[in-house]
């Protein structure tokens, strides 16, 4: 397509930026100016002459048989160009991230509330909406299978997917399961070794990524019979891998370009509108844009798995952990999505950053008729952290120990072993993170003489003028893996080009990395500057013309694609120096690139890059693979399963109106080891953002599902923290290099989301004395035991 017809397309061309900052500095974002001017083209801004608007008909029922679909009336609506059902799909009808169990459009049955059944393309969104209402679907409504008990008793309640349809080793509505046993496991003999045992049942509600930029994109049919898709996603290549078979096209004819992404947090790991827009474009021969409205966004992407967990911990009287016995049940909903990986994380990280001699763990993900759940920041680890950190507080109370001290008695350090048998072979300063969190100065007490309601629980709602307010403090620490695990080779590719433009050496970095806001593009430019000694760096738009960059998830992009940019830049550097040696016969062994010149440490500048390059460009592509991992043994959970571990500790200070059950988080401190902060400003931004999502899960965020139906698919009732809910978030960063990682860095994005939630709940417990075994904590949880 001609770029001219897309408006505001500046980020779909190269973005150039000059700066002196290499790694360790905090240069401004290369896309920052476009973003503040409103010129950065997000996927929902895509626009093409003659484009049509696509929309989907979605099921109002969580479980039903589709008896018939009649599209004839919809087709008659003036302005409608196509109405499609699964029968119109040219290729494979199923797709999926790990297991291809999800139909692109429902086939004869629906398995969750909001499942897409039919598609419409029309000349205006309103025309499309009207047409959707004219599609007649006859359903035989079935009782949804929604609770753990129902799922685990298919004999009585039935199957979400008939067992003969299973495309993995699922069985009996269990999509995936992982067991783990380490030490002696947990037997009666092991239990007898403990002086105290605490146990608890914990529940985590269904959280949503709630990125602000709705799922959207523009599919443009191409003359070669292929398709160009401009889309917001986390992983261009895995989208294409899932799309091509459905569209019945070879992968090279499905070309994806990353449009601006308005946040992701795991919610764009799966396909949403990609296949639908392309199907409509294929059928109509016209460009088709789909933009989800907020309600459709809630139906159209996976959520964080809700969890029910049983934990039992035993310890000696002096506070040494003896065993942990855990069972984690994750509700994966209708389709598999990332459930297997979520289970793997829950099982392998579910004991926390502690050394526990004997562990037994059983984690499962269910198939149910609830909304599908999959990737969200910190998956598997977030749910478990609420369980094990609640247990640590309980144990400390039982033993009469300070909760931080109890943790420090048991925290893991470099050289220790995970219950999976994997040795921690890089710094793990867990006890130190906790110490630092504790030593940070506390915020001042509430100034009752000068109350400003905006600082109190309830704020402008004017519920308290100081009455009922009790302060609480809580601590927690968490562990997360970085990168894809269990034998998966999630390599990244980068292309770096060095040439002279306008009399200056300019490096161009081209990857397929999805910039979702995290600042990967800033870091890529910094790496190129550091390795190549240039100031001018151009970021090429991310697309499928270059090899895969893997997903922008699992805290992996700086590590993986940053690592690939480093490798490619180093290769370019070697090639340039080699060129110089050939031309000038240098014999120095201390040559590097700096300040636009080839430099010898001892002899000084040898030649300028401009002179050496002339009008030649050096253009090289490299892949970066992390060290290999292996799958966990299904029964014992043993194996070198994770690439890297990352840790964060938090302290939360809250004011609770104990009479009304309202909470105001006063401060949320985070201390994290990041190995090496390539861009300190971005690192702090990631940690503060991650903490805030954790705050949301602690006190307000939940998709409420009753009998399989979503009750709050809107920003009116799915609440995320506002600026009045979010406290100051002081961040302390440690930089202890990981010898296995590029520059020694450690993935940053997820650890705070894992660790911060339990600290807030601990602080509320500290203020109220209540048990609080479920998150999000709601006002009624804090007041049910109170007299009216």
């Amino acid at each position: 397509m001609s770029a001219r017809t897309i408006q505001g397309q500046k980020n779909l061309q190269n973005i150039n930026q000059a700066s002196k900052d290499g790694i360790g500095g905090s240069p401004l974002r290369p896309d920052g100016n476009l973003k503040v001017k409103g010129e950065f083209a997000y996927s929902s801004d895509m626009w093409h002459e003659d484009m049509l608007w696509g929309t989907a008909l979605r099921s109002p029922h969580p479980r039903a048989t589709i008896l018939s679909v009649d599209i004839s009336e919809a087709l008659k609506v003036p302005g409608v160009y196509a109405v499609l059902t699964h029968q119109d799909i040219p290729g494979s009808k199923y797709y999926g991230l790990e297991i291809q169990d999800q139909p692109a459009l429902a086939i004869d049955k629906v398995r969750y509330h909001g499942e897409a059944i039919a598609l419409v393309a029309a000349d205006h969104p309103e025309t499309a909406r009207r047409a959707v209402k004219k599609i007649k679907v006859e359903y035989e409504v079935l009782t949804p299978i929604v609770t753990e008990e129902q799922c685990l008793d298919p004999g009585t309640y039935g199957y979400v997917h008939e067992p003969h349809e299973y495309k993995s080793h699922a069985y009996g509505n269990i999509c995936h399961e992982q067991r783990l046993v380490s030490g002696l496991g947990v037997t009666d003999e092991v239990r007898a070794l403990a002086d105290v045992i605490v146990s608890g049942d914990y529940e985590v509600g269904m959280q949503d990524q709630a990125f602000l930029g709705p799922e959207s994109g523009l599919a443009v049919p191409a003359e070669d019979g292929g398709i160009d898709l401009y889309v917001a996603t986390q992983w261009l290549h895995v989208d294409r891998e899932q799309m091509a078979p459905v569209l019945d096209l070879p992968e090279e004819k499905v070309r994806l370009t990353l449009a601006g992404v308005g946040g992701a947090f795991g919610g764009r790991e799966d396909i949403s509108m990609q296949i639908h827009a392309c199907l409509l474009a294929q059928h109509t021969g016209k460009p088709v844009k789909i933009v989800y409205a907020r309600d459709e966004s809630f139906y159209g992407h996976v959520h964080r798995h809700p969890a029910r967990m049983h934990y039992e911990h035993g310890a000696t009287r002096d506070g040494k952990l003896v065993f942990a016995d855990c069972r984690i049940v994750l509700d994966g909903g209708a389709y598999a999505s990332a459930s297997p990986a979520v289970v793997g994380n829950a099982a392998s990280l579910g004991h926390g950053p502690y050394v526990i001699p004997n562990v037994k763990m059983h984690a499962i993900a269910l198939y149910s008729n609830n909304p599908s759940c999959g990737a969200m920041r910190g998956f598997g680890a977030v749910q478990a952290a609420f369980g094990y950190e609640s247990q640590m507080d309980k144990l400390a109370a039982e033993l009469g120990l300070d909760p931080v001290e109890l943790r420090q008695l048991n925290t893991m350090s470099e050289g220790d072993y995970m219950p999976t048998g994997q040795q921690i072979d890089s710094p793990a300063p867990v006890a130190d993170l906790l110490r630092r969190a504790k030593e940070m100065p506390l915020p001042p007490p509430l100034d009752t003489a000068h109350l400003d309601v905006r600082q109190l629980p309830g704020a402008l709602s004017n519920t308290s003028h100081g009455e009922g307010i009790v302060r609480g403090v809580g601590y927690s620490v968490g562990i997360k893996n970085v990168g894809f695990s269990e034998g998966f080779d999630d390599y990244s590719t980068a292309r770096v080009r060095l040439e002279v433009i306008g009399g200056e050496p300019v490096a161009m970095v081209h990857t397929a990395m999805a910039e979702v806001g995290q600042g990967g593009v800033t870091v890529h430019a910094q790496i190129a500057r550091t390795e190549l000694g240039v100031e001018q760096v151009t970021i090429h738009p991310a697309n499928t013309e270059v090899g895969s960059a893997g997903s922008t998830s699992a805290s992996r992009q700086t590590y993986m694609t940053g690592g690939a940019v480093k490798l490619a830049a180093e290769a370019v550097k070697r090639a340039l120096i080699e060129k110089g040696r050939r031309r000038y016969g240098w014999t120095h062994d201390d040559i590097t690139l700096a300040g636009g010149k080839v430099v010898s440490a001892r002899s000084g500048a040898l030649v300028s890059m401009v002179d050496l390059l002339g009008d030649e460009a050096i253009d090289l592509t490299r892949e970066h693979h992390h060290r290999p991992t292996v799958p966990f043994d299904k029964e014992t959970g043993q194996g070198f399963g994770h690439v890297q571990y990352t840790f964060c500790a938090n302290r939360a200070v809250v004011d609770v109106d104990v009479e009304l059950g309202l909470v105001k988080v006063v401060e949320l401190t985070a201390v994290q080891d990041v190995g090496k902060a390539l861009n300190p400003l971005s690192v702090v931004g990631q940690i503060q953002g991650g903490c805030t999502q954790a705050l949301g899960l602690a006190v307000m965020e939940e998709i409420i599902v009753r009998d399989g139906k979503v009750r709050n698919a809107s920003f009116t009732d799915y609440l995320i923290p506002t600026i009045l809910d979010t406290p100051p978030i002081p961040v302390e960063i440690l930089e202890l290099p990981d010898p296995h990682a590029p520059y020694g860095l450690r993935g940053v994005g997820e650890a705070p989301t894992v660790s911060a939630t339990p600290s807030i709940v601990a602080a509320i417990r500290n203020a109220t004395g209540l048990a609080l075994n479920r998150i999000p904590v709601r006002p009624e949880h804090l007041t049910t035991e109170l007299p009216g």
């Binding site: 409205a293 309600d295 519920t463 009479e659 009304l660 009116t716 006002p779 009624e780 109170l786 009216g788």
Partner: protein, 295 residues
């Protein structure tokens, strides 16, 4: 769908008479949500933005006549003195952007049990009137007769709200609302309270805890009695925990809430009692201060 843009109030009334199913739009903060999410497809939209008198208010010293479209932001800035309860309620509505557009006319038009103006208007007393007009003429609807069901009010199909008549406060007023976040929340439940020393009454209003906004009649009566019998209006003496407690109980008893995604019925009752006690305490403290400083 048609889009009607009357330039004057008379044109608006004529349009509404001609198209009784036309949906008036003022700030649009309710209407447009319903349009965007396909909840509503009226035959016509009747834009009231061009009618300037709807955005004006006047105060004759005893009563404020508040134009239907005066946005909340201006109520907060300009009317906190004469209408303190309503101004506090206005300050809890949505966000600054919403408060720049939405107003009491729209809140009354939507008649949601969760509308925040309602408890404040009820608490302001029984002499609050909705000025409704049509080509047939103008009538003043007492606020107690205005709310007739869930999201239903007593306007006739051809009527528009011109203004609301609210007595100028003659004593302290308060408003509290529960939300599960610290800004931008629809009320889980809300409570408005006002002391009316001039006629020795008190006013209450309960939001989001019954099919319609409602008054806690028994609580008002109880307190009126206690204040009169004990000469508290004159003395400004402490009410005592027993009275405050009882008042809270009666407010709670006046509610008939349900469980929904925003909260449970039990919590709503509990919170209403707490808010009733607190708002009574705050207003009474202010009142006694006034009495003492006057003495």
């Amino acid at each position: 769908m048609e889009f009607l843009r009357p330039a004057t109030w008379d044109e608006a009334l004529a349009a509404k008479a001609e198209y009784p199913t036309a949906l008036p739009i003022a700030g649009g903060t309710d209407v447009m949500v319903e349009m965007n999410f396909d909840v509503h497809r009226p035959s016509a939209i009747l834009d009231l933005n061009r009618i300037t008198e709807l955005t004006q208010w006047s105060n004759d010293g005893g009563v404020v006549r508040l134009g239907a479209s005066v946005p909340y932001a201006r109520i907060i800035d300009e009317l906190s003195g004469p209408l303190p309860g309503l101004a506090l309620a206005a300050h809890t509505v949505g966000s600054p952007q919403i408060r720049n557009r939405g107003g009491v006319g729209g809140n009354l038009g939507a008649a949601s049990p969760a509308g925040d103006s309602h408890p404040a208007l009820l608490a302001a007393g029984r002499d609050v009137f909705v000025e409704a007009a049509s080509v047939r003429g103008t009538r003043l609807i007492p606020i107690d007769d205005f709310y007739v069901g869930v999201k239903r009010n007593s306007l006739a199909a051809d009527e528009l709200i011109r203004a609301v008549h609210i007595p100028v406060a003659d004593g302290p007023q308060q408003f509290s609302k529960i939300g599960t976040r610290n800004a931008m929340v629809i009320a889980v439940c809300a409570f408005g309270f006002a002391l009316h020393p001039k006629d020795g009454t008190v006013g209450t209003g309960i939001g989001s805890a019954a099919p319609t906004p409602r008054r806690a009649v028994e609580a008002e009566e109880y307190l009126r009695g206690v204040l009169a019998e004990r000469g508290l209006w004159e003395s400004g003496d402490l009410l005592g925990t027993e009275v405050i407690q009882r008042f809270g109980e009666l407010v709670k008893a006046a509610a008939s809430p349900i469980d929904d995604v925003r909260g449970t019925a039990d919590y709503r009752r509990h919170a209403l009692a707490v808010m009733a006690r607190r708002t009574l305490t705050w207003t009474w403290n202010d009142y006694s201060k006034q009495i003492r400083s006057a003495a």
